[in-house]
């Protein structure tokens, strides 16, 4: 309690070679003297802890702290023991769980024991008075500053940096040019082809058969019974070299409902076949796969942001953040009764992008 400062007396010069900066009394630029500076209220009165009053309590606290440290030792031993007792057996996932659980409990005890013990030690046994360490100015002394300037001047003089301008300018030029290879390298991370064209077209084309995901077997119109839903990929997708990129655009959901339930707009009457409709599975909001089909309400729900599409009305948005209906894939059947596409999607699938005009 001897060094119970009151905030002002500490000064800024303890152990440092810097001057204390004096706070300004007037606000800069106004010349108004601030009269009502808040007085330093000082510290709240010192409150003795139980350990300060009764030495017996200090011994108790000492025991508690060392008990926490002993607990940490026990935790360390337990972690090693657990690692040996519950080894990870390849193929047995439960062994991983047991191993991790008991190893973790042991290491938690080991670390928390040290941490809580240290804090408890400082709070209950170490000196309990309040003190303030004053912040001091960061400006160096005039001698230090002069010495620094002198070092720079000497460096310039000895190297001739300011004098030999040819060397200086070529060095600056070389430094400026160094990052250029990175620009060339990173440019090649982008697709070589124009990405906009890729976004506007999918693997679907005229007469491409609709096939089952993932087997790639073609689907007959008669296979799709009322209330059915098929997850569809275009024929040949499984052989594509960029299969995943193509699937991300071409995934389609095939549903059958009663033909009288559909309400196609003018020009799209023949896009469905006998109540069978195919819609892009990629949400027009941010591109999640929309496949939560309710066969009674004919609603499609996107699980990411709850956009709902009404399949009976050309997948118009009836709820949620999506702004456009899902693109419909025009379909018909070929001579063998298999479902085929009439064309590619007539608009880009998935979320909006900058160059999209539709």
């Amino acid at each position: 309690m001897a060094d119970h400062h009151d905030g002002e007396s500490g000064g800024g010069t303890v152990g440092t070679a810097v001057e204390k900066t004096v706070p300004k009394d007037s606000a800069p630029g106004t010349a108004v003297v601030v009269a009502d500076r808040v007085e330093n209220p000082g510290f709240p009165p010192f409150r003795a802890r139980v350990g300060d009053k009764f030495p017996a309590k200090q011994r108790e606290a000492e025991k508690r702290v060392s008990l926490l440290f002993i607990l940490s030792i026990v935790g360390t031993v337990a972690a090693i023991t657990a690692y040996i007792i519950f080894p990870i057996t390849p193929g047995d996932m439960l062994s991983v769980r047991l191993n991790n659980l008991f190893l973790g409990i042991g290491m938690t005890l080991a670390l928390l024991g040290i941490g809580i013990g240290a804090v408890h030690w400082s709070k209950s046994l170490m000196n309990g008075h309040d003190l303030v360490e004053m912040r001091h100015g960061t400006r160096g002394s005039d001698e230090t500053r002069a010495a620094a300037v002198e070092i720079f001047r000497l460096g310039n003089e000895e190297s001739g940096f300011g004098r030999r301008t040819l060397i200086r300018n070529t060095l600056i030029g070389a430094l400026v040019v160094t990052p250029l290879p990175a620009i060339v390298l990173f440019r090649d991370l982008a697709p070589a082809a124009d990405p906009v064209a890729g976004l506007k077209h999918t693997l679907w084309a005229k007469d491409t058969r609709l096939t089952r995901d993932p087997s790639g077997t073609p689907i007959k119109a008669s296979d799709v019974t009322l209330g059915s839903v098929f997850h569809v990929i275009p024929e040949g997708l499984n052989d594509a070299t960029d299969k995943l990129e193509q699937k991300a655009k071409a995934a389609v959901l095939l549903m059958r409902m009663k033909p009288e339930d559909l309400h196609p707009s003018a020009g799209r009457e023949n896009w469905a076949y006998d109540g069978i409709v195919a819609y892009s599975k990629i949400c027009t909001h941010v591109g999640c796969p929309v496949a939560l089909y309710e066969q009674q309400t004919h609603h499609l729900l996107c699980p990411c942001h709850q956009s709902q599409f009404d399949i009976t009305h050309e997948a118009e948005v009836i709820f949620g953040p999506a702004k456009r209906p899902l693109p419909q894939l025009p379909i018909t059947i070929d001579a063998d009764g298999y479902l085929i596409a009439r064309s590619d999607f007539t608009e880009p699938v998935g979320p909006s992008f900058w160059e999209r005009t539709l």
């Binding site: 409150r47 802890r49 139980v50 996932m93 439960l94 991983v96 769980r97 991790n100 659980l101 804090v119 709070k123 209950s124 309990g128 089952r212 995901d213 993932p214 689907i219 007959k220 008669s222 296979d223 799709v224 019974t225 009322l226 209330g227 059915s228 839903v229 098929f230 997850h231 549903m255 796969p289 496949a291 939560l292 089909y293 309710e294 066969q295 009674q296 309400t297 609603h299 729900l301 699980p303 709850q306 709902q308 709820f319």
Partner: protein
């Protein structure tokens, strides 16, 4: 205040002789009501249990019994000739599998109108259920009870998992934990559901679930999916408690409440003065 205590004292002294004079104890009424409730309930249970016993003895899995059960329990909504009413869909052509699924999971008979029929205690004995689906299947062809060889959960787990991810996981969750649909409807969790009911649900498409017929998922595909689901049932979660297998929702909530709560608690403890 003093007045109050005085009056209470006088009241006490007044009531004490009354009780000694043979008046009922205040708790008598409570005891009488309890006895009355228990006896009424007991008698009611006796009657109803004897009635249901009579019911089960009357069923022998025959077509006529199925017809009678249907007329008594289902025809109000589904029509006497399965033609459906404005309260319930037609059952013509739904097949034995649909009836078995709906009745043996307790979804039918419906307890009340709502977004969807929920699983609840089964209302019929297995004999009665057999009679019911035999009767419904006899009226029009439809999906039959699945062959037991597809329900053994001994198929290809990896193939089943891939099919499950493509066809089922968007509604039922990758771990089969179920998920929300629109306007109060939901895809139920499918952990612990019997292989027969999983198969029947796929082939009949109960309520808002789409149909996955044998041309879409072959019986062997369905057997593989069942194999995967049974594998999930008996495989423990590697990372400990699953919190419903709902992913970031439940796990994030847990961390926000308990993780941040613990951090706040420790911070308060660190900064508080010791006493």
């Amino acid at each position: 205040m003093r007045m109050g205590t005085r009056t209470r004292m006088t009241k006490n002294t007044a009531s004490r002789p009354k009780r000694q004079a043979g008046r009922r104890h205040p708790l008598t009424a409570v005891a009488l009501i309890t006895i009355g409730l228990f006896s009424t309930g007991g008698v009611y249970t006796l009657f109803t249990s004897s009635a249901s016993a009579a019911n089960s003895t009357a069923t022998a899995g025959t077509l006529e019994d199925g017809g009678k059960l249907f007329a008594a329990n289902c025809a109000t909504c589904h029509g006497v000739n399965l033609e459906g009413t404005k309260n319930g869909p037609s059952l013509i052509g739904v097949g034995a599998a649909a009836v078995e699924f709906q009745v043996a999971t307790g979804r039918m008979p419906l307890a009340q109108n709502g977004p969807q029929a929920e699983k609840k205690p089964v209302q019929f004995t297995s004999d009665q259920i057999t009679a019911l689906y035999t009767f419904v299947a006899s009226r029009a062809p439809g999906p039959a009870i699945p062959d037991a060889k597809y329900l053994q959960a001994n198929g290809d787990t990896a193939a089943g998992a891939e099919l499950f991810r493509i066809n089922c996981a968007m509604c039922h969750n990758i771990a089969g934990a179920g998920g929300a649909l629109t306007q109060g409807k939901f895809a139920p969790p499918i952990g612990g559901v019997s292989p027969q009911h999983i198969y029947e649900a796929m082939i009949t498409g109960p309520q808002n679930m789409p149909v996955f017929n044998d041309m879409n998922l072959t019986p062997q595909d369905k057997a593989n999916i069942i194999t995967y689901l049974k594998f999930l049932d008996k495989s423990p979660s590697v990372a400990g408690y699953e919190l419903g297998s709902l992913g970031p929702v439940s796990e994030g909530l847990f961390l926000w409440i308990f993780g941040l709560g613990a951090i706040v608690g420790v911070t308060v403890w660190l900064a508080a003065k010791s006493n």
